[in-house]
């Protein structure tokens, strides 16, 4: 309906937690569920009695697979109480190779708050993309990030990669623009060993939330928010994980 019906770029900053609805078969798309016996889990899969959310997350499958990541990566967390216990939030973190960091952040949020974390940056492709979506990934589309936050979820967006871990990368401006008006948390992640090998535990430091008034049509505000998030991650890295 084009030009005749202009409306704000992002409809509203009001959180409308409607992503799953009332029939959830005892599972939640935001809160982690207690472990289930293998037989009942298998029966649940076969009968289709599990929720899905519109972004593709399969909470039951995520609960089944997540303990495996816990075996691969040990994680030490500081500042976990900064993560919202409920409601939306965007975690902005540094990354090296970018393979283990999403799993480490997911473990952090599950352990500290018992919530699920959506990782932004899933490749939009058949098979692999679908599988990662089922585990909580979403492609890096601003509309999807905004919709996810409006639905009251936690999401994680990485800064640009710094493969030699010599600092922090550039912030993804369009994605941060989608998060204006929602809490943005800088997070520093330090690997457990060279090339992310699990020699020692991974270390995660969560900073205090940055909250902006939230005008989604103001690119200056988005740029300032992105820069504040980048500076927040840089300061956490310098203070808690100095090089060497």
């Amino acid at each position: 309906m084009g030009d005749r019906h202009p409306h704000p770029r992002v409809a509203s900053r009001r959180v409308t937690p409607t992503s799953v609805g009332s029939l959830t078969f005892g599972l939640d798309d935001d809160r982690v569920s207690p472990p289930e016996r293998p037989v009942s889990a298998l029966r649940r899969r076969l009968d289709g009695r599990y929720p899905r959310d519109p972004f593709g997350l399969d909470p039951h499958l995520q609960d089944l697979v997540s303990p495996l990541f816990g075996l691969i990566a040990r994680v030490e967390v500081e500042g976990g109480d900064h993560i919202p216990a409920r409601g939306p939030g965007l975690l902005v973190s540094n990354r090296g190779l970018g393979l283990m960091e999403p799993a480490v952040l997911g473990i952090t949020v599950r352990r500290e708050r018992g919530r699920r974390l959506r990782i932004v940056g899933t490749p939009d492709m058949p098979v692999l993309g679908d599988a990662l979506r089922a585990l909580g990934g979403i492609p890096a589309y601003p509309d999807d990030v905004a919709a996810l936050l409006r639905a009251g979820h936690l999401a994680a967006v990485p800064l640009g990669p710094t493969w030699l871990r010599t600092g922090v990368g550039t912030p993804p401006l369009e994605l941060v623009l989608a998060a204006t008006g929602f809490p943005v948390l800088p997070v520093a992640v330090a690997p457990g060993g060279p090339l992310g090998l699990p020699v020692r535990p991974w270390r995660v430091k969560v900073g205090e939330a940055i909250v902006t008034p939230g005008d989604p049509d103001d690119p200056l505000e988005a740029a300032e928010l992105a820069e504040a998030a980048r500076a927040g991650v840089r300061d956490l890295l310098r203070a808690h994980f100095p090089p060497g």
Partner: protein
Amino acid sequence: MRVLVTGMGGELGTRVAQVLEERDDIDEIVGVDFVPPRRRLRRSEFHRIDPLERERLADFVTTLAPDAVVHVGVYEPYARLDPRGAQQYTEACTVTALGAAARAGKLRRIVVRSGVEIYGRGRGRAAVPDEHAAAAPTTAFGHSCLQVEAIASAVGRAQHAPVTAVRLAPVVGSHVPSPLGRLLRLPLVPVPALADPAFALVSPEDASRALVAALGRDHDGPLNVVGPGAASPWQAVRLGGRVPFPVLAAGWQVAYRMVELAGAPIPSHVAELLAKGRAADGARALEVLGLGRLRSTLEICVELFEWATVTHIRASQAAA
């Protein structure tokens, strides 16, 4: 207020008329379609006019001179008509009814039934678009919806009448003739072997409530109406106790023929839904229309397979 409901013979159109009948501010409800309404209506007036009889439909609407049009005459392929027929009927009904209503000169409100198929599922498109996302349909039904919105917008602009395009998720219910519902109720249902994408639905009750609620607001623009949550093809099939049949690549051509023979042909927008999923962000509609709680996609899936128990009564009881 005198309201014209196009497509009143369909499940959605009949329900819209029923909801309108509950409103005291609506003085007169007049419907047209090529088939009669699916339920008894108390104070609605129905006229059986085939949209392809353009002159007859135009004369009728011009004489009626409605204050508002709820345009539900947007026909989904393989719901009741084949894809070509659905496209023809949609185009004829939209152009003729809205054009004639505009010519009558009293039109001050337009609500059109559209679909989230309008966003398309091409590469680089958000999985859960909100109303600001550009319309880029990738299926015939999506293009039909885009055409309906464009025509309604042009008519609204000429008449200075606000136009609300209610973009519905696939409307599925146990009594709704829909290609997706029919497919899911087959005993053996083809599903993608390597993907299980999420799709969202809306119930016919919520869809009709949304269309009528839009009539009472002055919102000018599109609104997504989507049931909370989602389901996947495998999951929906299993919830109904049906057997999913994994299909890969060229196997789909065979699967299409088989389900067509079984009475459940798959139009392009349903094929796309099975392969890539379909959802949209419906938060704005909840806010603008004040709809309250909508039935969730999983509830709709479960209800799709629920049928009332058939009670056999003896002839003597029936006669009594």
